[in-house]
Structure formats: C-alpha cells, structure tokens
Amino acid sequence: MSALMSVPVAGRFGDFGGRFVPESLVPACGALASAFAAAWADPDFRAELDDLLAVYAGRPTPLTPARTLSADLGIELLLKREDLAHTGSHKINNVLGQALLARRMGKSRLIAETGAGQHGVATATAAALLGLEATVYMGERDIERQQLNVLRMTTLGATVVPVTTGSRTLKDATNEAMRAWVADVGDAHFLLGSVGGPHPYPWMVRELQRVIGDEARRQSPYVPDVVVACVGGGSNSAGTFAGFVDTPARLVGVEAAGGAAMTAGRPGVVHGARSMVLQDAEGQVAEAESIAAGLDYPGIGPEHAHLGAVGRAEYFTVSDTEVISAVRRLARAEGIICALESAHAVAWVLREAGTPLLPTGSRVILTLSGRGDKDMATLGAVA
C-alpha cells in the first residue's frame, strides 16, 4: 500500500495526474519538480522548514480527544487540530514549504489562487515572512463571502486580484493564476494551494502536508479504525492519509454535495492534471456550489482519483445543511468553532456514527483543517 503514496513516476498516480499545461509552462514545471526533489532530499532545507513549522507556525498541532461527542456518538473521536496552526488552517504547511522553495529557486514573486481565502492568507503570510511579493487571485463571489480573509491578505501586504469570470469562485481564480504564471514564469512561483495541478504539485503538496498525518500517527495512542478529512482540492486529506496509508485504517474523504468530484464527477483534465472532474456530457466543467468556499471546486487532486479507483480510500458527501449543524454541534460540544470546510468531515461522522459505515466503538481520527472565524458572517446569515 505504501507504494501508493511514493513519488509518482512521470507525475502519475495510476491513470491520473500528469502535466496538462501549455508548453510555456512545461519547463517551469520541470524545473520545479527537480528543485523540489533536491530540496526535499536536502537535510538543511528540511531542517529550515521544520524549524519554521515549529517556532513560527505552531506545530505540532494537538490531537484533541472530543470527549463529549465521543460519549454522545459511542465512538472514540480524536481531532487533529489544524485550526490551531498559524493563519488558521493546514494551508500554512504547504505554503511555508513552497515559499522556501521559491526563495531557493531565486523567485521574487508568489502567485496564488484562493477560495476560502485561507490559502491566500497563508501565501501572503509566507511572502511577508520571507520578503517576497504576493499576488492572490480570488473569485469575486468568494471575496464577498470571505471579507475577513481579504482584509487579512491586504494587511499582510499582498495584492488581491478579483476574478470576475465564470462562477467567480476557486476554479476561475485558478485559471487566472495560471494565466498570470504563464506571463511571469521566470520571476514568479505559482504557489498552488492544494494537491491538484500539473506534476509536481500533487506530489509536492502532499509531501508538504504529510506532516498532518505523520504527527497524528505519532500522537495517537493507537492506529485508528477510520481516518476522515474533508476534501476540496484534497490537500488536508492527502496529508492526513499519508500518515495512515500503510496501516489498516480506512481512509474517508468527505466532499461537499455541491462539489463532489469523486462522487459525482468523471475522469477529465482540468488545471493541469487528469483526475475526477464535475462536468457535463460534453466535457464542460461544472460550477461547484457549496456553502464552504474552500470546497467550491469541481476538481480534486489526482492521487484521490487513484486512491478511490483502487479502493484504498472512500469518498462521501454531506449537504450544506448538515455542515451548518455540524459547526454548531462541535462548537457546543467541544468548544471548537471549525471552518465550514472542516465541518464536512464532522458532519459525516455525526451522520454515520452507529451505522455500518462507522460502527459504534470505532476509533476515529478526524482532521479539523481550519478554524471558523472566517465563516462567522456566513453562519450568522443562516442563523
């Protein structure tokens, strides 16, 4: 099983992955793959990153027993607390790694796409820390519903560019970011926020996020029965799964019902990789529709497509309504307000505990990918 998660040959995860990018980007992707491989094998680079993760980003994040919910649901639930990481989500793990890499490659600018704004905030943060410029592309619709994060990015000195095309969400922001990269591929590093995109991104981002799973594995008193995480592009889940893929633990990814590439999509090519994609019969990419801006994305990282195809991981969906009550229930039971994205994983556990999918007595590790401050306005509006 562990071979599933190793370095993908030619950027492939089984039938998925690859590098479907304009010729103008091919050399840059190649250079990035080599640079990351070299850096990842370089103990100095690893040490610098580990140090930043510890003294700057607050790692390790705790593994918190959810005592009340566990008792209520008849399971043992442990929460991996990425909500406590600096900037408020797991996104910082990836961003610090890539920003260090960009500096090592002599780049002066970071370009990023963002949905919920967490990746944008993390990118702006790393740029400030390392003295790089940052330009963040964000759909107009996401700008409206994630005002807090827009203010955070500009306070950090980043330029936020509103994207007005298509569904005005993450998919379109990603298109714009890639266009911007094509135009400045020499000076800019495209700091992709999840495990999608052309090789080496799916592999690199999963490696940078595996700290979640590796830590949880070390912190947990046992190998759990089930490991569960929400899935947007799939980075927090990929990072979590990486720590458990070689154990008997079941791996569960939870998608937004309105953005369920695994559950409702078909194989396709978007944003540089072959993976599962929400699309119509002709191949036009569908617009995702979820209350969680970070899951409002019609694609998913290719490794998930592969893990799903070979049956190593299972994928389910939950509805916006379930998600809203999950945020509230977790808040009231455990005193933790998680992000709407993360609440997808919680909602699945709440729904399935005691069913054959999650039998009573199950030991569960759930990654809380981020905190919910950014979502308070949205939640207030549906109160």
Partner: protein, 273 residues
Amino acid sequence: MTAKLLVPYLTAGVTENWLDYLLAVQEAGADAVEIGLPFSDPMLDGVTIQESSDRALARGATVASILRDVRGVRDRLRVPLIAFTYANLVYRPGPAVFCRELADAGIRGLIVPDLPLDEAGEVSRAAEAAGVELTLLVAPVTPDDRLAEIVSRSRGYVYAISRMGTTGERDALASSAAALTARIRTAQQRANPDGRLPVLVGFGVSGAAQVAEAGRAGDGVVVGSALMRRVLDGATPHDLGAEVASLRAALDRCDQEDSADRTAYAEVSGHRG
C-alpha cells in the same frame, strides 16, 4: 501563389451567424481558419477569447452543434479548418471518437494548447488514425532538444507561441517571436533539409504592422483576439472580412519585400494547393 499564410481564429458559435464570419474571412484571403471549440475553462486564453467562449457556451453552442454547423457549409469551404480546443473536450468522448468526429465534419487539423508533447501520445495516435493533423506548440522557453522533438511530432504546421502569456492583443510583437521561429527553422533544417512544415506565429498578434512583422518571422500568422474583439464589439461579417483583407494586404506587402528568403511552403503544407 505562395504567399505568407494568414490564419484567422474564430470562436465557433459565438453568434448565431458565426458561419458568415467564417465565410467572410475565407473570402477576404484566409489561408486556413482556426475555429475555437468553446471550453468553460480556457486556461491559455486572454479576456477576449474567454468572453467569446462564454458567449458561445451561453448561446448553447456544443461541439456537436458546431460540427453540424460546419458540415452545413462544407461545400462552400475552400480553406482548411483547424479546431482549437482544450484537452478535456477531447478526453470526455475519448480522443478516438473526438478526432473521428472532427474528420467527419471535414476538419483538417487540431490544436490543444494544454496538451504538451509529453501528454500528446494518445491524442496524436487517435488524430493520425482519423486523418486529422495534430499541431503542437513551441514556446519561447522550450529548450532546443525538446523543440526538435515537438517539431518532428507536429503535423500540419508548427505553432510558434510568439510570447509568454495568454492570447490577447498587445502593443507590440515580442522579440521572442523572431528568435523562436529561427530556432524552429534550424531544427527543421537539421531534421529534414528537403521539406518542412510551415511555422505559424500566434498569440497576441494584432494590427497590420504586427501581422507583417510576424509574417516576416515565420511562414504565416494566426490572428485571434484582435478579430474576436471586433466581433464582440458588433462588427458584421462584412466588417470582419474588410479587416482580414487589410491584414492580408499587409502580409502580402511584407512578403514581397521579403521574398528573398521565402519558403516553398505550398509544397510541404497539406493545406494549400
């Protein structure tokens, strides 16, 4: 006549009468026409072609409807058509099916900007089997060895991306265009000194001056955003024909000035003659 090639780009389905634009540019002297099959996420296109694609999709244009349209005017078409679209539209039905459908509609070539050399195998085989020419793209940043490989695998033309960036009008033509076409010719010379594919220069070419400059650099030029901008702004097929005619004239002028180093592309291109 062996002039420089003028290849206008049109987003298929952008208006109800899009075929009138197609026929008008043919009459105005196009040597071939790229027709864009609109895709929801045109990653390599600038605002103008994004907007035309969105408009076509909003009108309900589909690959099937566009190919039906094309079949309808088949007997009036004298120049080759080249489909320009993104990989997902090719993979959804499958490359074999997709390419056969192009061929059935009489479409001669295919350009897929997000399908680089390394990923092109399956589509390339399917295109060949269907008798469709899969044209590959070369960028200013493409290294020499890779460039040679692309040149040898490209069919119909070699597409030289004139600048780093998306499609769309620019104030001036990048100097990288001439450098790139020179590198491509060197590679062609080395591989097959006796015959070679025409090199088309595209991405951000607009206006008579840039067309002439691009024409001098390569064997021909693709003009897309500059034309689609006019269509979006309400130009009639007649207006667009006049625009293309003026580009044709500019290109021919440059061609005459430049005739010394002209290539006998008619002999190597499957598209003319």
